[in-house]
């Protein structure tokens, strides 16, 4: 039986989830969530929900306490609620709500009105998985459940009083036999790979990287929700590109110039070697301040995109963050070249506030 309190608790959880959802925009722009990520959950701090009353402002009233200390000794921080006299006022502390990543992605989807992605490639290929989940009275001998069978026999013998404790021989008969049964799960298999590319040249500061970090966290959350299997690869580049792990990706700071084509070349090499475009859904995200080294390289980038990348990827997203040195030309060059290309999404992210809209632009096409 469901306990009464469990129903009230479930209702409470529903309410706080609603609160998280309403304030999602605020949470999206803050980086701290990423640090609170567990395997399947994110802990989100929300203020405790109080039922409002006409009541005293404790900061104005003060109170009486007990213990040692000189006059002027601090006894608690301003945001703690000290117990005033005998009445214990509820504290204004934060609640931590654990929200499954899937649910968070769902909220993100609803909030940003993101369409579900129609996977390409193996969308008709499904894999069957057998799972042994139950017990039945019939089945092949090879699947006989010895322990259960034995138990049944024992039960029967005790009930019919044929069980002799002095000579505990248990002989199962036909009716005692129990067999394992299985259920077939059909799992659609769609694979996806995300390749993140980031410009780490001298002009990309910590704030710019933070934006990239937050944005890719949400992109990750959403795509993981859409695909069963997902792989992520990270490429950093300044004048040359190399593949790195996630940790390095977010924390490297290089100096030097920017040659974007180096990253695109590396990305297409990785795709050529490891991901067959007919089987994989490919997502490319590139973040830079757009200050590319000369027009010649930009032309080369366009060529790689056109010839090599675009035919194979689901989506190519370019996010241009604004660096202290201003924003570069690259986004406009791409825009000129690929105005009608659906697979390319361009977005300018000048500060954290714009992450929300930028995610919407990137993922809003449902590709």
């Amino acid at each position: 039986m469901v306990k009464r309190i469990e129903k009230d608790q479930a209702r409470f959880h529903q309410i706080i989830r609603g609160k998280v959802k309403r304030n999602l925009r605020k949470y999206i722009t803050r980086g701290e969530l990423i640090g609170k990520k567990g395997n399947d959950f994110v802990s989100i701090p929300i203020p405790q929900i109080n039922i409002p009353h006409f009541r005293y402002n404790h900061k104005k009233s003060g109170g009486v306490g007990q213990g040692s200390g000189e006059i002027g000794t601090p006894i608690g921080r301003g945001d703690d609620q000290l117990e005033g006299g005998a009445g214990d006022a509820p504290g204004d502390h934060l609640l931590e709500v654990d929200i499954p990543l899937d649910e968070l992605a769902q909220m993100l989807g609803e909030e940003l009105e993101l369409p579900n992605i129609l996977p390409k490639g193996k969308k008709n290929i499904t894999s069957q998985k057998d799972k042994y989940t139950g017990i039945s009275q019939t089945g092949p001998e090879s699947l006989r459940h010895f322990k259960r069978t034995y138990k049944e026999a024992l039960k029967r013998q005790i009930i019919t009083q044929t069980y002799n404790p002095l000579r505990p021989v248990i002989i199962p008969v036909r009716e005692d036999r129990r067999y394992r049964t299985w259920k077939v799960n059909i799992e659609p298999e769609s694979n996806a790979v995300i390749i993140y590319m980031m410009d780490v040249s001298g002009s990309m500061g910590d704030e710019q990287k933070e934006i990239v970090r937050i944005e890719s966290f949400w992109i990750d959350t959403w795509l993981r929700y859409q695909y069963k299997n997902i792989e992520t690869r990270y490429i950093i580049h300044d004048a040359v590109a190399r593949e790195v792990d996630q940790e390095t990706f977010y924390h490297t700071r290089e100096s030097g110039g920017t040659i974007i084509s180096s990253a695109y070349k590396l990305a297409s090499k990785i795709i050529d070697e490891e991901y067959d475009a007919s089987d994989w859904n490919l997502y490319l995200f590139h973040f830079s301040d757009g200050d590319n080294w000369g027009e010649i390289d930009t032309d080369e980038c366009v060529a790689i995109l056109e010839g090599n990348l675009l035919p194979r990827v689901n989506l190519f997203c370019y996010g241009q963050v604004e660096s202290p040195y201003g924003s570069g030309q690259f986004i406009r060059d791409l825009d000129d070249q690929f105005q009608d290309e659906e697979k390319i999404v361009l977005s300018e992210i000048s500060d954290k506030e714009e992450i929300y809209d930028s995610i919407k632009e990137f993922l809003g096409k449902g590709r």
């Binding site: 309190i5 009230d8 404790h58 213990g67 000794t73 009445g87």
Partner: protein, 495 residues
């Protein structure tokens, strides 16, 4: 679940001891429960059958988390009811169970005998269950969310009650029928005169003037609603607000429960002090075995712990009771003692009166926390127990110890206990601006309200009154009116 045999025996034993000390209680039923059941009952304020609401779920969430992290554990839970119900946690060991039982008998005695509990419903267990059934029925009929929201609105106003109303009849049982009779019409003043002098003695402009004055008087005489300001705001809303029947019923349920719980808020220090006094007496004088002493001492001192500067009602209460007992045993009261200013004489004062026990029983019958502190907190006690006043320091964003002066401590403590720590709010006018708007006044006594919360509460009040609502209060020594008209909040200064 029934008590296991061993505990049943312990219970009888402790009951005998308690009766031996002349404690007088309702029959007490102990239920033994698992920790999660205890958490559940505790979240429902002690009543296993309570109406459904998310706030209980929130409470439970917190208790469950606190328990699983090992931060907190509920020791005792006892319900003011006849018979009294009390819960024992299954996993506690025997000495804990003994302690809790002894403590519970102290509470039961207090519930039964303290005057402030006189008007509480002693069949509240059943009443709460009825309330729950009622609210569940409304949920089915009008939709869970609708009812839940309205319950929340009512809860937001639940502290707007008149604590003393159970003891005084503030208004006649039935409102007198008010019929505006012809006789109430007062003719404007006209000076006496002979016919032919009339137009000279009562010229037209004079008559006009008089008519205006009379009209003005009539207007002022017009019945005000409420005739006298009303502190039982909930009752007033029940009588006057345009509520559906189910809404009125929900509001009256919340009001009844608020009145039921109020005495517990009014006597927290005394009630816990009294129970602690008795558990310690029963345990140490009667039923501790040698093997249990350490565990008992550990748990008892845990109960009386005063964590970082906070006031612990258990500690304050029990120490005050003991202080009273000692003073009345030694005769440290009355004019002669009060006027003695020789420290040594005072200290060694002992008239061997032996009135201590008698006095504390009298105190538990007649007093509530406010009177208790007012009458029995002495400068000696204040010094010995190192009480202090703390205030908030803007600059450091900290609460800091600000004074140790006896007068200041007592004043602050009394303030925090007045009206069980809630601001006084009264209905002044239900026809404000002659537009049926509700005008409340906060009787400001030195401490401001929390403004953001007050605004939200006004929003809720509007949902009940369905016309604009106003609250007069004082912020930073400026008199202001907070208003909510259904759409916008307004805040303006007045003179």
């Amino acid at each position: 679940m029934n008590l296991p045999q061993e505990l049943a025996k312990t219970k009888d034993e402790i009951k005998r001891y308690a009766e031996g000390y002349r404690l007088d209680f309702f029959e007490t039923i102990f239920e033994i429960v698992e920790f999660d059941e205890l958490n559940e009952v505790a979240s429902y304020g002690g009543f296993p059958t309570r109406y459904p609401h998310w706030r209980f779920g929130m409470e439970y969430d917190e208790l469950a988390k606190g328990y699983s992290y090992g931060l907190q554990k509920i020791y005792e839970l006892v319900i003011n009811n006849d018979p009294c119900y009390a819960y024992l946690m299954k996993c506690n060991n025997l000495v804990d169970q003994k302690l809790v039982m002894a403590h519970v008998y102290g509470h039961c005695d207090f519930f039964k005998n303290n005057l402030w509990f006189d008007h509480t419903n002693r069949k509240m267990m059943d009443e709460m269950a009825n309330h729950a059934t009622q609210i569940r029925r409304y949920c089915e009929k009008y939709g869970e969310e609708v009812v839940e929201d309205f319950v929340e609105v009512c809860l937001s106003l639940e502290n707007l009650i008149d604590l003393h109303s159970p003891y005084i009849q503030r208004r006649p049982d039935k409102p007198k029928m008010i019929v505006e009779s012809e006789s109430e019409f007062v003719a404007p003043l006209k000076l006496k005169s002979k016919d032919y002098m009339d137009s000279y003695i009562n010229p037209a402009h004079f008559l006009d003037e008089q008519r205006k004055i009379t009209e003005q008087k009539q207007k002022e005489k017009k019945r005000k609603i409420p005739e006298i300001p009303e502190r039982d705001v909930l009752q007033f809303l029940l009588d006057q607000a345009p509520l559906d029947r189910w809404q009125a019923d929900v509001l009256s349920i919340i009001r009844e429960e608020a009145y039921y719980f109020a005495p517990q808020g009014q006597t927290k220090i005394m009630n816990e002090g009294w129970a602690t006094y008795w558990h310690s007496k029963i345990m140490t004088e009667k039923c501790l075995t040698d093997a249990e002493v350490i565990d008992y001492a550990d748990h008892h001192s845990g109960t009386l712990l005063t964590g970082t500067g906070r006031l612990n009602p258990y500690k304050l209460g029990v120490e005050l009771f003991r202080d009273i007992e000692e003073r009345w045993n030694k005769g440290k009261f009355g004019k002669e003692y009060d006027e003695c200013d020789d420290w040594n004489t005072r200290k060694n004062w002992d008239k061997k009166l032996g009135l201590g026990q008698q006095k504390i029983f009298e105190v538990r019958k007649l007093y509530n926390d406010l009177m208790f502190i007012d009458a029995f907190l002495t400068p000696e006690f204040c010094r010995e127990h190192r009480l202090f006043v703390y205030n908030y320091n803007d600059r450091t964003d900290m609460y800091e110890i600000s004074e140790r002066d006896f007068k200041a401590v007592k004043e602050k403590l009394l303030f925090s206990l007045t009206n069980f720590g809630q601001p006084f709010i009264r209905v002044e006018d239900a026809n404000y601006f002659n537009r049926g708007e509700l005008y409340l006044i906060h009787e400001h006594d030195g401490v401001d309200l929390k403004i953001d919360e007050a605004k939200e509460t006004l929003t809720n009040l509007y949902k009940v009154w369905s016309r604009p609502v106003h609250l007069e209060t004082v912020i930073d020594e400026v008199k202001i009116i907070l208003s909510f008209n259904g759409q916008d909040h307004d805040e303006r200064e007045i003179e």
